[in-house]
């Protein structure tokens, strides 16, 4: 193994950011290993989404280090660069291309040349079509392939966005509240989907739904007021005094 592969995939150290004097992220440190799936919980306003903004280049931290794959300093890059480095992101509010078909949404996300000319003279290949159809199966949308994304239900849009992440094929997936607004059946299905995805991707999932987190059965980090309150197995975190006081107990 080369040293690079021994390094953690994502490494945040002492990260802080404030908006108009309000510290949304406060001395946050977090390490995610290769191949790991991590669940992040915490009350509203804990800074979970802001943490993703920092990792993906949308927000620059005031202090601290953010490293990807050991030596890539993410604070030096912008959103498009970071996406190309291999970090994909699902937004808290599902965001898909409403006026494109489900298939085209995946095709646009597909991992290939992002240049202007490549896209002007792009030709659909059979192997690519096959890959997209596989992803359609994975996210349970094969039967909606030719529908406009705007015609999908809320839950289906969430899945489509996860499918777009798969098409993008990043090394790390950041998934912000994937089951918000889903029915119980859809929630169970989504947990299965994420477990499937985590077999060959590293994933960070932010979620409030404790049943869902339990289904994922992975290491949990609880954030509050911009820093890590507790970390470990779900049972460990859930029985932590501080967590009960600031989040679960309320």
């Amino acid at each position: 193994m080369s040293p690079k592969e021994k390094q953690p995939l994502l490494y945040l150290n002492g990260v802080s950011v404030s908006f108009d004097g309000f510290k949304a992220i406060n001395n946050l440190s977090l390490v995610v290993e290769r191949g790991e799936m991590r669940a992040i919980i915490g009350p509203n306003g804990a800074g979970k989404t802001t943490m993703m903004d920092i990792i993906t280049g949308k927000t620059r931290p005031d202090e601290g280090e953010v490293f990807f794959e050991g030596d890539t300093d993410l604070t030096k890059y912008d959103e498009a660069d970071i996406a190309c480095l291999g970090i994909g992101r699902k937004f808290q509010k599902p965001t898909v291309f409403e006026n494109h078909s489900v298939y085209d949404n995946l095709a646009l996300a597909f991992d290939e040349d992002r240049g202007i000319l490549a896209n002007l003279f792009h030709n659909e290949t059979r192997s690519r079509r096959g890959r997209i159809n596989e992803i359609l199966d994975t996210v349970r949308l094969s039967h909606r392939k030719d529908f406009l994304a705007s015609e999908l239900s809320h839950g289906q849009k969430q899945w489509l966005e996860i499918g777009m992440l798969l098409a993008q094929d990043p090394k790390l997936l950041l998934v912000d509240e994937p089951v918000a607004g889903m029915t119980d059946a859809e929630t169970v299905e989504t947990a299965n989907l994420l477990r499937e995805i985590s077999k060959n991707h590293s994933v960070i999932v932010v979620e409030h739904d404790m049943g869902f987190i339990r289904d994922l059965d992975v290491k949990v980090t609880c954030l509050a007021e911009g820093s890590v309150l507790s970390e470990g197995s779900l049972d460990h975190v859930a029985s932590d005094e501080k967590v009960i006081e600031s989040y679960l107990g309320r």
């Binding site: 993906t56 959103e79 498009a80 996406a83 190309c84 994909g88 992101r89 937004f91 965001t95 898909v96 291309f97 409403e98 006026n99 494109h100 078909s101 085209d104 095709a107 646009l108 996300a109 992002r114 202007i116 896209n119 002007l120 003279f121 792009h122 030719d146 529908f147 406009l148 015609e151 777009m164 993008q168």
Partner: protein, 383 residues
């Protein structure tokens, strides 16, 4: 086969429109020149000139639609690119006057002699050559769009703010071109053109040829825009329009895509302006007026943005209406235009063509559902 793949890429509708424009380019001059005036199918020269002008407007609206309809960039300054293309052509036409000006100066246009200029300013050099002027017709608007877009898109200026600065851009150019010392004829602009490529601009033959050239240029621009919007690049433009941040987080350099579309659009607008000037015989700073650019937005909205035929249709319809109204009820034209815009914005957000194609696809869907109900097959949504 190239032609076959072109056909499948564009779809039959686009091919029909391009074919129709080329047909018009061939037939109208014949009906104008070859038929005697008494013939019922004879097209009088004034109509050829009028429709030639409309086709230039249609091209400008098409250019705007590429960035507004497909990429969400509401430019309120597209008239500036049109005017710059027009000025480049006007400069060529000025140089063609030669010694036939009032002052009969061998190199200087009349207005420069009048201002007591000794020699041709450097930026007028080369404009005696048609090829050079033709190059500038696309290069100058393209360069302005590139520089403007580079800064605007990189700083992520969008929405209303972007519209306002495009408006400011055309207004600044209006003020600049009004100044005599800019060297573009100031207030009066460039006019009194005599000939182009060695033939008189006043002859019916030249006018008919200009009409044809405009119809062909519109057809080619339409083809270019169709190829762009039907490519993966075009789908990406729409994606950026609808969810810019999604595209960005997928790894696309949104600013580069916008910039490319903006520059192509400005170049098409420049060609439209260049074809317009010899047909109307004058170019002056008034073409930079903010109101002109806003009118282009109205044509596009009325016809239907986000469809390529819409802006062409809208430009022809609104300008046809304008010609009629300003002759019949001159005092009501602005009210009619304003009312039309309000009506369309409120009730037909996709414009006339957008609504028609919506009705059509709804009808198709119903037919499809009926057919599938009969055969018991699963309905397939139209692409």
């Amino acid at each position: 086969m190239i032609s076959k793949s072109l056909f499948t890429k564009l779809g039959p509708q686009s091919i029909w429109i391009v074919a129709l424009l080329f047909l018009i380019a061939a037939v109208v001059p014949l009906l104008n020149l070859a038929l005697p005036e008494s013939h019922p199918l004879h097209v009088p020269s004034y109509l050829v000139g009028l429709f030639g002008k409309y086709l230039c407007y249609a091209m400008l609206a098409l250019a705007l639609d590429l960035v507004w309809g497909y990429c969400g960039i509401l430019s309120l300054g597209h008239g500036a690119f049109f005017a710059l293309g027009g000025y480049a052509m006007g400069m060529y036409l000025m140089r063609q006057i030669g010694t036939r000006g009032v002052y009969a100066h061998p190199t200087l246009p009349d207005f420069m002699v009048f201002l007591n200029w000794e020699e041709l300013p450097w930026f007028w050099l080369g404009f005696d050559q048609f090829w050079f002027a033709a190059l500038m017709v696309v290069a100058v608007p393209g360069l302005l769009a590139f520089v403007f877009g580079w800064f605007a898109f990189r700083s992520r200026v969008t929405g209303v703010y972007l519209s306002i600065i495009t408006q400011a851009m055309t207004y600044a150019l209006l003020l600049a071109f009004f100044r005599n010392d800019m060297g573009f004829g100031g207030n009066n602009g460039l006019t009194d053109f005599k000939d182009m490529l060695g033939v008189s601009l006043q002859s019916d033959g030249t006018r008919a040829a200009l009409f044809s050239a405009t119809a062909v240029a519109l057809g080619l621009s339409f083809l270019l825009c169709s190829l762009i919007v039907n490519s993966k690049f075009g789908k990406l433009l729409v994606a950026i329009r609808d969810a810019e941040s999604r595209a960005r987080f997928l790894g696309y350099r949104v600013e580069h895509f916008k910039l490319f579309a903006f520059v192509v659009s400005a170049m098409i607008a420049g060609v439209a302006g260049a074809l317009y000037v010899p047909q109307v015989g004058i170019i002056n700073p008034g073409e930079f007026a903010p109101a002109n650019s806003i009118e282009v937005v109205i044509w596009t909205a009325v016809g239907g943005r986000g469809t390529l035929f819409g802006p062409i249709f809208g430009a022809l319809l609104v300008n046809g209406g304008k010609s009629y109204f300003t002759a019949a009820y001159p005092e009501y034209w602005l009210f009619a235009l304003g009312g039309l815009f309000v009506l369309v914005t409120l009730f037909l957000p996709k414009g006339i063509v957008g609504v028609l194609s919506q009705l059509r696809s709804a009808a198709q869907k119903q037919l499809g559902q009926r057919a599938s109900a009969e055969t018991g097959a699963k309905p397939e949504a139209a692409e």
